[in-house]
Symmetry: C2
């Protein structure tokens, strides 16, 4: 969709000069001298991402999902999130998501469905996220990256959604994907027995 | 909530050295030499944000909302979004959101309600977003920043939500807020007549 939207408009910014500020394996920062849409001179610092952010919402037939807990260095804070990771730009995102889910949780999914695309922070960066629903799950052994220190927690989808609503989950991909899955369950876009388990909370007592 | 979650855990990263890479009025980039949770040496580039991202979902009593269209320099693409802007860290976010809504759309809202907090891109940045529902709306004259070139479009909430689902809206704050408002309407967390107008599409023919 993005290409279609882009080609219908003319870029109102003019770039006079650009310079590279910083580069590491994950991001490249550039500063541009610009003329703004209003005609004024300015600068624009842009953070370019070398990976696409992939999120996976594993959904068991009883309405459970899985969260991953980890310390987020950039926030200086612990964070509970859906399984996520970086996929190579130009790679096959669903294959990368499959690898990420398996590494972090040991789960293999027989059914994959793209449910979300987002630009995460478009005032400064070009980081894109793609979210998948993963169903038909079988459990294998996780094999996380040795630089990661992860906790894995299986819980009812309804509980995860409540954590997002109450501010205990704040990761944007996770919040949006949980809400999107709720929307799908309510709109009849997920198989009725599973949708019911998601909304009612599966085996949980109310 | 974030403080509570943070204090229950120990940071598994060690920072050996830190240096400033880049600084402008909106972001500051730092690179840290670290020891990872797995014990390996590494670097971590972090983009610190000088503002909090504020999003506003204006909701008219007939179920309409308002989108703002603008060219996003960092994406090199046009983007339709809810009214958004940066608020000073340490400022009163609802006052900053009120100012942003008025500047971009001319709307004044009598009722404000926080509906979402998210960390937008926590693998690299500390950028936080806060989303508000704005109701009891009255129309005044917009007075946008002269560096901005904005289009304003009033449309049924249901149509905006469909745009997000179909990938015509990709801004993360907008996608998450539209889904959150849908969740509220379905869960009985919005006044019934308004919730009905949001879900059914107001005056729109199906």
């Amino acid at each position: 969709m993005r290409d279609q939207v882009c080609t219908r408009r003319k870029n109102p910014w003019t770039v006079k000069t650009s310079r590279s500020i910083y580069d590491n394996p994950w991001i490249a920062v550039r500063e541009h001298e610009v003329v703004t849409p209003g005609g004024g001179d300015g600068i624009y610092g842009v953070v370019g991402f070398k990976n696409v952010a992939l999120g996976v919402l594993p959904l068991f037939s009883n309405g459970d999902t899985v969260l991953v807990g980890q310390w987020r260095f950039a926030l200086d804070c612990y964070s509970w999130e859906l399984p996520e990771g970086g996929g190579r730009l130009g790679g096959d995102p669903v294959e990368e998501a499959r690898r990420e889910l398996s590494e972090e949780t040991g789960l293999q999914a027989g059914a994959w469905r793209e449910i979300l695309r987002m630009d995460l922070s478009n005032s400064v960066s070009d980081e894109q996220a793609i979210g998948y629903l993963a169903m038909d799950l079988t459990q294998g052994a996780p094999h996380p990256d040795e630089d990661e220190s992860l906790e894995i927690r299986r819980l009812p989808f309804k509980t995860a959604l409540r954590m997002a609503i109450q501010g205990e989950i704040t990761d944007a991909i996770t919040v949006a994907m949980l809400l999107r899955a709720h929307h799908m369950a309510v709109e009849g876009d997920i198989e009725p027995a599973l949708a019911r388990a998601m909304i009612l909370g599966g085996g949980e007592t109310p």
